[in-house]
Amino acid sequence: MTRSAAPAATGHGTAPGTPRGGRRGLSPTLRYLGGRLLTAAVSLLAVMVTSFFLFRVLPGDPVQALTQGRNVSVAQLEALRREFGLDKPLPQQFVDYCLGLLRFDFGTSYQYRVPVADLIAERIGPTLLLAGTGTVVAALIGLSLGTGAAWRRGSVMDRVNTGVALTLYSVPSFWLGLLLIVVFASGIGLFPTNGMMTPGVTGALPVALDVAHHLVLPVTTMVAVVYAQYMMVMRSSLLDEMGADYLTTARAKGLRDSLVLRRHAVPNALLPTITLIFLNLGRVASGVILIETVFAWPGLGSLFYSGLKVPDLPTVQALFVVFAGAVILMNLLADVVYPLLDPRVRT
């Protein structure tokens, strides 16, 4: 609220001599940004509340699941319950949870007995590495193939590319991962199929190479399933642009075909694709759950999946907030970046 009120307040204070056009141009932009920020904040709040109550209804008693197979007295169970704060009434637990969130304190993981924030900090790197590499590679492949397919619409290359992309898009990612493991683990043994590092490797460069080596199969799996979307959007938005008058003008000026494509058509056609990349970026964090599970990649996805089975309430609800928060953040960024990229939607 304060953010959207601020420009109005300064607006009243402008000296009579200042050009009015500047004020008019600034205020809507700030109001737009303020509105977006407010929406994002409300969404995030709703997600936090959902996260708490959604996982409270999970079946199974975490205390019993953790002590399974061990001889524990009722008193010990009670002590454990008190330690986790599970003996308090639900409203009290909710208040504690909200107060903790304000201090970025997500509580203590039931299974690992360390603060969830530390756990997330430790696991977020591998997830970002995997999701980031995958997205960059998929976007590059998708954009270039989509451009080629649209520019030579109806050609053999266009048909083959579209067909392959649609087929790979229909393949479940975990199955593709399993097949790659079968081929490379029991077959050739060219790439590691498990985890992120070989234990015992030291030194900056060897570790980097080792991680890159481990990254090959998970990234391949992710790219194969994801790039089709970028390709299809790039193809259709370039097709939309191709009938435009300014391309005829560019050709009439005598520009070569490749220049018309590169300088005129592609930059305009990129806009929808960039929006899609932003929107997808928020989703990849949760989208790699499957790939992380299949390849035993030590990221947030596998943490979420293993936490769900206990149920490790603090971990699972914090991760839910993180996953949904990533989507909210990226939506916000897309809203903010889009007017910067496309002058036509600037007001």
Binding site: L58, L166, V327
Partner: protein, 302 residues
């Protein structure tokens, strides 16, 4: 008087619908990929429906397997056997029944929900529409897979749970598309005419808006079935499905826990995945063909 007028009017309406349908079929038939996808789906549906005629469900229980563990493909078991000595071919054919059922029902749930909310928000406008669209936005923000996994874990492990988990997470896209289309339809003069003639909200939404929104919904439905089937296999693969039912994802999950991946039992792993990919591709291709019929801008310009 009015009774006499009603009969020819009704036949007129039917005549118009028949012609529109014929036109739709003609346009659809021009899309070769769409035809191939449709043919594939018809064959698959026929196999799934007639499966009980040549497969005995008793042989598909964990204890009912007649072969040995991990037998490689032979004349008796064309796709070999699984960890419990069951025929993989029979399992995959039987799995089509569950996967298709869940795919259709989950899509139906989400499309019905999305259409209802979309039309309501588009028709009424004002603060109620605002609230509905805020709820939609908020659901769209929740990552679908995480939400479905959480819902499937929260409720009891059954096929109905999976259907609800997919249906509840997939509707926001439909709601947005339907709302946009509703707004476009309601801006046209025949809605004003209907209102002037005394048509109520229900009448306008059901008789005028819904038929005009249906084409978009149909295309969206076809594309959603593909997504639902992949989502179902994902949830089953993560071990969140009903352990007693045989779906393609469940077969893959069993294969993984039985160690088929590390020992390279390809005949156990490849068929269910291929089946998922085949069905998802067929629905995607059909959905694109339907979209192209209703949206001429998407049609290949020759």
């Amino acid at each position: 008087m009015s009774g006499q007028a009603a009969a020819p009017r009704r036949s007129l309406v039917w005549e118009r619908r028949r012609r529109a349908f014929a036109e739709f079929c003609r346009e659809y038939a021009r899309n070769r990929a769409g035809l191939a996808g449709l043919a594939g789906l018809v064959v698959l549906a026929a196999i799934a429906l007639s499966a009980p005629l040549f497969i005995d469900p008793a042989g598909l229980t964990v204890t009912g397997g007649s072969g040995g563990r991990f037998e490689s493909p032979s004349a008796r078991y064309p796709l070999g056997t699984d960890a419990f000595g069951r025929s993989v071919l029979a399992m995959v054919v039987w799995g089509a029944r569950i996967s298709l059922t869940v795919g259709f029902l989950a899509t139906f749930v989400s499309v019905a929900l999305g259409t209802l909310i979309g039309i309501t928000a588009g028709h009424f406008g004002g603060w109620s529409a605002n609230v509905l669209m805020r709820v939609t936005d908020w659901f769209a923000v929740l990552p679908a897979l995480v939400m479905a996994v959480a819902l499937a874990a929260v409720m009891s492990r059954s096929t109905v749970t999976i259907i609800i988990a997919i249906g509840v997470t997939a509707w926001p896209a439909t709601a947005r598309i339907v709302r946009a289309q509703t707004l476009a339809v309601e801006a046209r003069p025949f809605i004003e005419r209907a209102r002037a003639l005394g048509g109520g909200h229900g009448h306008i939404m059901l008789r005028h808006v819904l038929p005009n929104v249906m084409p978009v919904v149909l295309a969206q439905t076809t594309l959603l079935v593909a997504e639902s089937i992949i989502m179902e296999s994902t949830l089953a693969f993560l071990g969140l499905g009903d352990p007693a039912t045989i779906s393609w994802g469940a077969i893959l999950q069993e294969a993984r826990t039985a160690g088929a991946v590390s020992s390279g039992i390809w005949w156990y792993l490849i068929p269910p995945g291929l089946a998922i990919a085949f069905v998802a591709l067929a629905f995607t291709v059909c959905g694109r063909a339907v979209e192209a019929v209703f949206n001429p801008r998407l049609r290949e310009r020759r």
